[in-house]
């Protein structure tokens, strides 16, 4: 499929799906269930609003969602208390599949959601979105409800960064533009059409989620795109413009850590796909620098992109009676 052709046919605006009554009707006709997973770690400032908005608009008024779950990595603030107070199902990631040694990382929560949640579609929405709105969900599930051939829907935005003098109209996406899109352009040109490959908001069919591995760190979104692309091709993707996402801005140093994790995942995938041959064992230590009393110091971060296997390979998951797992 040509990039321009794909962009034209598989890129949506959330406004396309704003008729929620119609969307719910189509969902119900297909006997489909949809779960929302919000992975959290210390998100007490934003989680309450997310839960209230989604429950009110997308469970009570229009039953688009069948389940809203918060899966937490071990917050030390009131994230879980607040989420439960406003009616979300709350889980500690370490309590899900307790026989498997727990790992810390956002990808771990996303992976365990496949086991814990019941929906045929799982929508992942980050918890740090300040301008949350129902469109974040209906914009993503819309293409999946309307087009059976689409399996994975990714969000994209004009991403403003909040700053002290109001809202800047654009910016952000530094890792995408400096790292991901150049890498995709080099190795998988079609994937460069995914406008926001690192966005934390996406909706995916269970049959896909349960059959792909999950890096638990920074590389989870990148690996998803590579794995789904390899197995199902570009036609399985769609992307939806959700207009604006206001969130915390990250320091450049944090983006360095993110990039380091993503590159590990990317190189490992390239090697497995025999795109670049065997790569030597890579260091897992990122080195950054700071000046302390006029002296340069090295700051080392150990960043290991551990990976969970496809959920379908976990016996406890297969034992659960789920339609796709039975197939």
């Amino acid at each position: 499929m040509k990039i321009d052709e794909w962009l034209k046919s598989n890129t949506y605006h959330h406004g396309t799906f704003r008729d929620l009554a119609e969307l719910v009707e189509k969902k119900q006709e297909q006997g489909m269930t949809i779960s929302l997973c919000i992975p959290t770690l210390n998100e007490e400032k934003t989680i309450g609003k997310e839960v209230v908005i989604f429950r009110s608009e997308l469970m009570h008024r229009y039953p688009l969602l069948d389940e809203i779950a918060v899966i937490d990595s071990g917050s030390t603030d009131r994230t879980l208390e607040i989420a439960a107070n406003f009616g979300a199902d709350t889980y500690l990631a370490s309590d899900i599949l307790p026989d498997i040694e727990p790992k810390r990382g956002k990808g771990e929560n996303l992976w365990k959601a496949i086991y814990q949640l019941k929906g045929d579609i799982i929508v992942y929405i980050d918890a740090d979105i300040k301008n949350i709105h129902p469109r974040f969900v209906y914009g993503l599930v819309g293409p999946l409800i309307n087009r059976p051939e689409i399996k994975y829907v990714k969000a994209f935005y004009d991403r403003p960064l909040a700053f002290s003098q109001g809202i800047r109209p654009s910016g952000g996406g530094r890792v995408t533009e400096i790292l991901i899109r150049p890498l995709f352009s080099l190795f998988f040109p079609e994937l460069s059409a995914i406008i926001q490959p690192l966005s934390g908001e996406y909706a995916v069919r269970r049959e896909v989620l349960e059959s792909i591995p999950f890096p638990i760190g920074y590389g989870v979104e990148t690996s998803h795109l590579l794995d789904v692309y390899t197995r199902w091709g570009m036609a399985a993707f769609a992307q939806t413009d959700l207009d604006q996402r206001v969130h915390r801005n990250q320091a450049t140093r944090s983006l360095g850590k993110m990039s380091f994790g993503i590159i590990q995942t990317f190189l490992s995938r390239l090697s497995k796909m025999n795109v670049i041959g065997t790569i030597p064992e890579l260091s897992t230590v990122l080195r950054q620098f700071q000046v302390h009393d006029q002296t340069f110091e090295t700051v080392e971060y150990e960043i290991v992109e551990d990976e969970r296997p496809p959920m379908i390979e976990i016996p406890a998951y297969r034992d659960r009676v789920t339609p796709t797992a039975k197939k």
């Binding site: 007490e44 400032k45 934003t46 309450g48 609003k49 209230v52 908005i53 429950r55 009110s56 608009e57 009570h60 008024r61 009131r78 208390e81 607040i82 107070n85 406003f86 009616g87 300040k130 301008n131 709105h133 909040a162 003098q165 109001g166 809202i167 206001v246």
Partner: protein
């Protein structure tokens, strides 16, 4: 879905007795109101620029299947819930505009017990309540006899001078039987009279050829201080009660710069119409006199005004409102208002203003409202609307 039908000839006592039965379901529905509250509050609506908030309000009204959902040339947003009989019209309003400009961060935070964000109490909560009420009525199976006109009003605050509601009442062709104005804060607030008010702005400008050796040299701030001192020397009568409030003073940019411009905003209030106009005239004279002494240019502009009036303490609407509040264990705090209520009073339409919840830091950063009282606030609104609907608040 709860279906509790109100009989057409239900007594006032029966209305009051029914309110507790609705509480549980209303508490559940308040989640929908909270969601509306967030979306309203996150849509900036500075006075004279309420279009986006009007758009959201109309979208909701359309979804709730109100009739005639529309805006007008001053930006009000309204819809009509038709009554079973339809021979009377109740106008339910909440002002949509806020004091906060577009560029500020309007994001809302919900935590257990409270919601915080710019304008959340003044008046996003009021707007959320009036917009959600038709849905609540439908869910509870309540059908009104009267038409309920639900309106988010524009251009209320400051220089807006309640232009939105005034425009509507000036141009509305159908008669309004009664008005209910809803403010987010504070639960227990009850206004059925308006106080006379003149809102003015004094501007001071020091000319470029100003003689810095003359009295008052030191720039605009010194001139403004003189004006302010003189304002506070104005004798204020106790009966009718009168007062002057300084609302804001602005001048100066920091060290190393002599301020050449400044403004003082004030409100003169009185129970007497002539008295409030006299106060305004006195302040204008002070401005002119100080200008003549100092050579600075000092002018006063009246930006808004209200005439005193309203219904009597014994008017059935006032009595009925107090009964509803008292029945719900809300202690009425009766005070005159300068809000939308004044426009109703000017037209001789009986009306009240009520509040829905408690809160802090209104019109400041850190503004927040408490969630728990909202259900009681909504019960109060429902009780009041039902009482008006059944004619228990009519004068005859």
């Amino acid at each position: 879905m709860c279906h509790i039908l109100i009989g057409m000839r239900m007594s006032f006592d029966a209305i009051l007795e029914a309110l507790p039965r609705y509480r549980e379901r209303m508490a559940e529905l308040s989640e929908i109101m909270l969601a509306n509250l967030v979306m309203i509050a996150e849509t900036p609506a500075p006075t004279f620029s309420e279009e986006r908030r009007t758009g959201f309000v109309l979208e909701r009204m359309n979804e709730y299947q109100l009739l005639n959902c529309s805006t007008d040339e001053v930006g009000n947003g309204l819809g009509i819930l038709p009554g079973e009989v339809g021979d009377r019209n109740i106008l339910l309003v909440a002002h949509m505009d806020t004091v906060f400009p577009d560029g500020m961060d309007h994001m809302v935070t919900i935590e257990p017990g409270y919601v915080s964000g710019l304008g959340i109490g003044d008046n996003s909560l009021g707007v959320a309540a009036v917009v959600t009420l038709p849905l609540i009525l439908k869910d509870l199976g309540i059908k009104l006899d009267s038409n309920l006109i639900v309106m988010g009003t524009s251009r209320s605050l400051g220089r807006g001078n309640i232009e939105g509601i005034r425009f509507f009442l000036d141009n509305m062709e159908i008669p309004i039987s009664a008005g209910v104005c809803v403010e987010g804060v504070k639960l227990g607030r009850l206004s059925y009279s308006s106080i006379g008010m003149v809102r003015g702005e004094i501007r001071c400008e020091v000319p470029e050829e100003y003689d810095w050796s003359r009295f008052g040299a030191g720039g605009a701030i010194v001139n403004m201080s003189e004006v302010i001192n003189r304002i506070f020397e104005i004798p204020l009568s106790r009966r009718p009660r009168s007062t002057i409030v300084l609302n804001s003073v602005e001048s100066g940019a920091g060290f190393n710069t002599i301020p050449t411009k400044g403004t003082v905003q004030f409100e003169a209030r009185s129970e007497s119409g002539p008295m409030v106009h006299q106060l305004a005239e006195t302040i204008e004279n002070i401005a002119a006199e100080v200008a003549s002494h100092t050579g600075a240019e000092i002018t006063m502009e009246v930006v808004a005004q209200r005439e005193p009036g309203g219904v009597e303490f014994s008017h059935p609407l006032a009595v009925g409102a107090r009964r509803v509040l008292t029945h719900l264990d809300i202690k009425p705090r009766i005070r005159p208002s300068t809000s939308e209520l004044s426009a109703f009073i000017d037209k001789g339409i009986p009306a009240v203003t009520i509040g829905l919840s408690t809160g802090e830091n209104l019109n400041e950063k850190g503004e927040r409202i408490h969630i728990d009282p909202i259900t009681t606030g909504l019960q109060q609104l429902l009780g009041l609307i039902l009482a008006v609907d059944k004619g228990y608040c009519d004068e005859n």
